[in-house]
């Protein structure tokens, strides 16, 4: 997979050189962008604390495992590892909750295990759907969002199924 590891350095060098060619003040602009995102990270922290509390309790009590086991027949059907079910359920609802669940999975199964890889792909290829729909339509006078939420959730379900499948096909486990 070393080819893919080249993507990131090339992208960084490409963007920096392009910006230099366009006479952008590179250091100042970089610092500005870094500062903006550090503020975002700082602002996520309180809600992340709340969700880490809840998710930590769910896992340490064994209830997360119970939910995974109960839903296993269903997940076996779509090929998603049962351990990823709590993450998939949380993903469309809370970004902080999903981050916290991903962390639990990476620490307990390891990032390069099948579960760790499938969870990583699932997290990277989906969004906090309910929140996004609420933010966008909240900015308008639209009251009936009709097909929007179902269409978005069908996309999420597709992503859940495909994340395990692509990991099997491309990464081999």
């Amino acid at each position: 997979m070393s080819g893919f590891e080249l993507v990131v350095p090339s992208l960084v060098v490409g963007i920096v050189l392009y910006a230099a060619a366009k006479r952008v003040d590179i250091f100042k602009t970089f610092v500005k962008g870094a500062r903006e995102n550090l503020i975002v990270a700082w602002e996520i922290l309180p809600s992340l604390t709340a969700l880490c509390l809840a998710v930590g309790m769910l896992r340490s009590s064994g209830a997360a495992e119970l939910i995974s086991n109960l839903l296993e027949p269903l997940t076996r059907l779509i090929g998603l590892p049962a351990e990823c079910v709590p993450l998939a359920l949380m993903r469309p609802v809370s970004g902080s909750g999903a981050l916290s669940m991903l962390e639990e999975l990476l620490s307990s199964h390891g990032p390069d295990s099948f579960v760790g890889r499938a969870a990583s792909v699932l997290m990277g290829s989906t969004e906090t759907t309910f929140y996004t729909v609420a933010v966008y339509f909240g900015a308008t006078k639209i009251k009936r969002t009709r097909q929007t939420l179902p269409s978005a959730l069908i996309g999420d379900l597709t992503a859940f199924i495909l994340s395990a499948l692509t990991v099997r096909l491309i990464l081999g486990s």
């Binding site: 997979m1 893919f4 590891e5 992208l11 920096v16 392009y18 910006a19 602009t29 970089f30 962008g33 870094a34 500062r35 995102n37 550090l38 975002v40 992340l48 880490c52 509390l53 809840a54 998710v55 930590g56 309790m57 769910l58 340490s60 009590s61 209830a63 119970l66 609802v93 981050l99 916290s100 991903l102 962390e103 990476l106 990032p111 390069d112 760790g116 990583s120 699932l122 990277g124 290829s125 989906t126 969004e127 933010v135 966008y136 308008t140 639209i142 009936r144 969002t145 009709r146 097909q147 179902p150 269409s151 978005a152 996309g155 597709t158 992503a159 994340s163 692509t166 491309i170 990464l171």
Partner: protein
């Protein structure tokens, strides 16, 4: 909704641990959860800062605007029925490009601007148009070139190759977006620019 989820999770955990006798583990989890949140934010906050800096360069150098202009004709095939010089389409293209570059801070205001312009240009009163639904599913599908947050967490847990998930993430994002776009069209009918007459 988040309140019900929190209360539900905490209650279920408590009751379940009473049955299984796992109160020690539960109490340990409560005591360390705050520390876990802070260390997690240090991991992803660092990556967010790095990529925020890099992607700000892409924005300031006009790279994102250029890509948005390249994407516009393609997007016109999906977002149908907009005027030739539609300002909404410009905002949609900028929103999608900002998402591609992981510029979350820029993407949301651009997306909100886009949906407001759609509301104006399409004259919808209280029902979402097809183009609005499409804009939202483009944003719920997480189309991002570099999944920096996830990769930084993988790196923190000593992954042999934090970025190996890249091809999978891109394939899954694109396919799930195609499914969502198809769903919007199916729910709404292919013809009739705004879907509802």
């Amino acid at each position: 909704m988040i309140n019900y989820i929190l209360i539900g999770i905490i209650l279920v955990s408590f009751v379940y641990s009473m049955f299984t006798g796992g109160a020690d583990a539960l109490s340990g989890a409560i005591m360390t959860s705050g520390q876990q949140a802070v260390s997690l934010i240090l991991t992803i906050g660092g990556a967010m800062a790095t990529w925020g800096g890099i992607m700000k360069l892409a924005e300031a150098s006009g790279l994102t605007r250029k890509l948005a202009r390249l994407l516009s004709p393609l997007l016109r095939l999906i977002f149908k029925g907009l005027k030739k010089d539609s300002l909404a389409l410009d905002a949609i293209a900028m929103n999608i490009t900002a998402n591609l570059f992981g510029l979350g801070n820029a993407a949301t205001p651009l997306g909100i601007e886009a949906i407001k312009r759609l509301e104006e240009e399409e004259g919808e009163k209280d029902t979402a148009s097809r183009n609005m639904a499409l804009l939202v599913v483009f944003n719920t599908c997480s189309i991002e070139l570099i999944p920096a947050t996830v990769a930084s967490m993988r790196a923190a847990y000593q992954s042999g190759s934090p970025m190996e998930i890249l091809p999978c993430v891109i394939i899954v994002s694109v396919l799930s977006l195609m499914v969502s776009v198809t769903a919007v069209y199916l729910f709404n009918g292919y013809k009739g620019g705004r879907g509802r007459k």
